[in-house]
């Protein structure tokens, strides 16, 4: 399937649904605009709302190769762009002192260079950019505006067709304005109850509808508590699957949910906060 056939955000949303990803209208509009305007897409949202999943589903829906760069504190150009394979250079120099030390075989391609060198268009996912240092953000600016990399020994490399870039951030810190304004932006919020139930059933086919709805109700109740880490969509899916496993046709749903709370809330202080409220919350969730 190609990008050209996507004429509207609705068609894009259908394509994504075929890849088991239910996007909201805001998200499909933003993706559509980024594709058509040729801009990078910046996705922000709480952890576990499906930012990385969105990129994976998009690569499948658009038929683009996914190249992923996971950011971390202290990431530098050597981890993002390229590195020379010095050991091999040294060996070949020992064998033949006239060897070309800067040939392709000595170049270790890191994700950004790899995305440029692919003959066909790729989807470049720069994951959790908020973890990287701000110098790295500044360095990305240059890459994202020209899609070219200069290697001193080799000259400048330019992409045959610029990759479709998706950046994700958990917003543990604010990103630089300069980066922000070059991108099309979408804040992925928690989906409404209806859509979240559909997502759970789509992702975990063994979960029946009533369970999915109960989980969505319970999870929404948990999100209203002041937790350090509120359960995301992925936790909701896991909780629904886990409870379905434990229930085994006994019909004791609240019991099954209570025993599997560990997949939804993964923090001792949070658990302490949830426990006194859990019974009432589950009774409400399973009842309605």
């Amino acid at each position: 399937m190609s990008e050209g056939a996507i004429a509207s955000p609705e068609i894009l949303a259908q394509r994504l649904e075929r890849e088991l990803y239910l996007s909201g209208e805001e998200l499909s509009t933003a993706v559509f605009l980024a594709l058509k305007l040729g801009k990078p897409l910046l996705l922000e949202g709480m952890p576990g709302v499906g930012k990385t999943e969105a990129a994976k589903a998009l690569s499948a829906a658009l038929g683009l190769n996914l190249i992923r760069l996971q950011c971390y504190e202290g990431i530098d150009a050597g981890h993002a762009l390229y590195e020379w394979n010095y050991a091999r250079q040294l060996l070949s120099l020992r064998q033949d002192s006239n060897a070309d030390l800067y040939a392709d075989e000595f170049l270790i391609e890191r994700p950004l260079l790899k995305a440029l060198k692919e003959p066909t268009r790729t989807l470049l996912l720069i994951d959790e950019i908020d973890r990287a240092d701000h110098e790295f953000e500044a360095f990305l600016l240059e890459f994202l505006s020209d899609f070219q990399i200069s290697i001193p020994e080799r000259g400048t490399l330019k992409a045959a067709s610029p990759p479709f870039v998706i950046l994700t951030s958990n917003r543990t810190r604010d990103l630089h304005e300069a980066l922000r304004r070059r991108c099309v932006y979408n804040w992925i919020a928690y989906p409404d109850a209806e859509r979240e139930a559909r997502i759970i059933m789509l992702r975990a086919p063994q979960v029946v509808e009533s369970t999915a709805r109960a989980v969505v109700n319970a999870v929404n109740g948990l999100r209203r508590l002041p937790l350090a880490k509120a359960p995301g969509i992925s936790e909701a899916i896991e909780w629904a699957s886990a409870a379905s496993l434990l229930e085994k046709g006994t019909g004791r749903w609240p019991e099954a949910f209570r025993r599997s709370i560990g997949v939804a809330v993964k923090d001792e202080e949070d658990l302490g906060l949830v426990r006194p409220e859990l019974d009432a919350l589950l009774a409400r969730a399973c009842g309605s």
């Binding site: 605009l33 020379w84 010095y86 917003r171 304005e177 932006y185 804040w187």
Partner: protein, 367 residues
């Protein structure tokens, strides 16, 4: 060139939103127009989604943005009178770097007797300018080594470096036809984190402001990058004044620049101005931010809490040093302090230069 009517309306909308304190660049407006064309536009909802994608409001201000959108496209009346009380107008910024702000505010300073008395009281206090020299000396001796640092992006050659500088080694080896003479080493540079000082100069802090300025002046000349602002009812950037080598001269300049000495307290509005100005907000990135204030806010403190939260989102370390903490029985019991406590890395004692210096010298162990 004249824009078509529909496009002109959209451009007007971007101006309208900008006037309400949302910041975006010219290229984003162009992107917005392109996006609206791409989407049809079939209905008003598609325009709203295009605006969300290309002129992104911060997540916590989305409802405000939507309200503005609604006001612009559905309520003509709101257009006729743009909001009267912008936060910027509540607490004007005063800054040497920006000439256009100076003349009216200087006039104001001359007319107000309050500013004059404040200047006077400050010059009286100049007698004991050497009082805390021991503490300042301690700061001078230890701060350059202990102030927190961060790793720079680039590597520099260093004989005792942690990592091998393979690129340089390789070049050396090639020069010697493949013989390894000596491996080169490199390390990543370590730079001082920027320090941002926010000094409360309202009436309740009268006894401390002199000390705080002395401390700010000393620190300005010790660390790589120190930015100093004062706030009371308005925000003033005094970094330039403090660049003078001589403390007395620097303090004199700063006292002339600030004209809300010993006045009322509107911390929230002043901090809102600070974070609302992109030029200032960018100073916070990865910075050590020290509030020197008692945190006694008049009236509601919602603005203050919001501003502190936004500052924390950018800063690396955020401390609130209050003179009230000199008392061992001190507990953060005012509603404002309680509310911002979750965003603070530390609530400490800011009663004297010595206590400020003590705190500064422990900053390095944070990283």
């Amino acid at each position: 060139m004249k824009l078509p009517q529909a496009a002109a309306l959209l451009v007007d909308f971007t101006r309208f939103v900008r006037r309400h304190g949302f910041a975006f660049a010219h290229e984003q407006v162009v992107m917005f127009l392109g996006a609206v064309r791409l989407l049809g536009p079939r209905d008003i909802e598609s325009i709203r989604r295009a605006a969300h994608a290309t002129l992104p409001p911060p997540p916590d201000r989305q409802t405000e943005f939507d309200a503005l959108f609604h006001a612009f496209f559905f309520e003509e009346a709101a257009l006729a009178s743009p909001a009267q009380s912008l936060p910027e107008e509540d607490a004007p910024v005063k800054d040497r770097g920006r000439g256009q702000n100076d003349p009216p505010e200087l006039g104001e300073a001359n007319n107000s007797g309050k500013a004059a008395t404040a200047k006077e009281s400050l010059s009286l206090r100049q007698f004991d300018i050497h009082a805390d020299d021991a503490a300042i000396g301690r700061l001078k001796k230890n701060a350059p080594a202990t102030l927190p640092r961060r790793l720079g992006f680039r590597k520099v050659s260093d004989k005792k470096g942690q990592s091998l500088d393979l690129r340089r080694s390789m070049r050396r080896i090639v020069e010697h036809d493949g013989d390894i003479i000596r491996l080169m080493r490199a390390r990543r540079r370590k730079l001082h984190r920027p320090v941002v000082l926010l000094i409360d100069v309202s009436g309740s802090m009268k006894a401390q402001t002199q000390d705080y300025l002395r401390y700010a002046h000393a620190l300005t000349h010790l660390a790589d990058k120190v930015e100093t602002f004062t706030f009371g009812t308005r925000l003033t950037r005094i970094t330039n004044s403090l660049q003078h080598r001589h403390p007395a001269k620097a303090l004199e300049c700063a006292s002339a620049q600030v004209n809300d000495w010993d006045g009322g307290t509107r911390i929230g509005a002043a901090l809102g101005t600070f974070i609302g100005n992109p030029r200032y907000a960018s100073l916070l990135r990865g910075a050590v931010v020290l509030f020197l204030s008692d945190g006694l806010e008049r009236g509601g403190h919602d603005l203050m809490r919001e501003a502190v939260q936004r500052i924390k989102h950018r800063a690396w370390y955020l401390a609130w040093l209050t003179p009230l903490a000199a008392d061992a029985r001190f507990r953060p019991e005012t509603a404002a302090l309680k509310d911002i406590l979750v965003h603070l890395d530390r609530l400490g004692n800011g009663s004297s230069i010595a206590s400020l210096v003590d705190h500064t010298l422990t900053l390095g162990s944070q990283s």
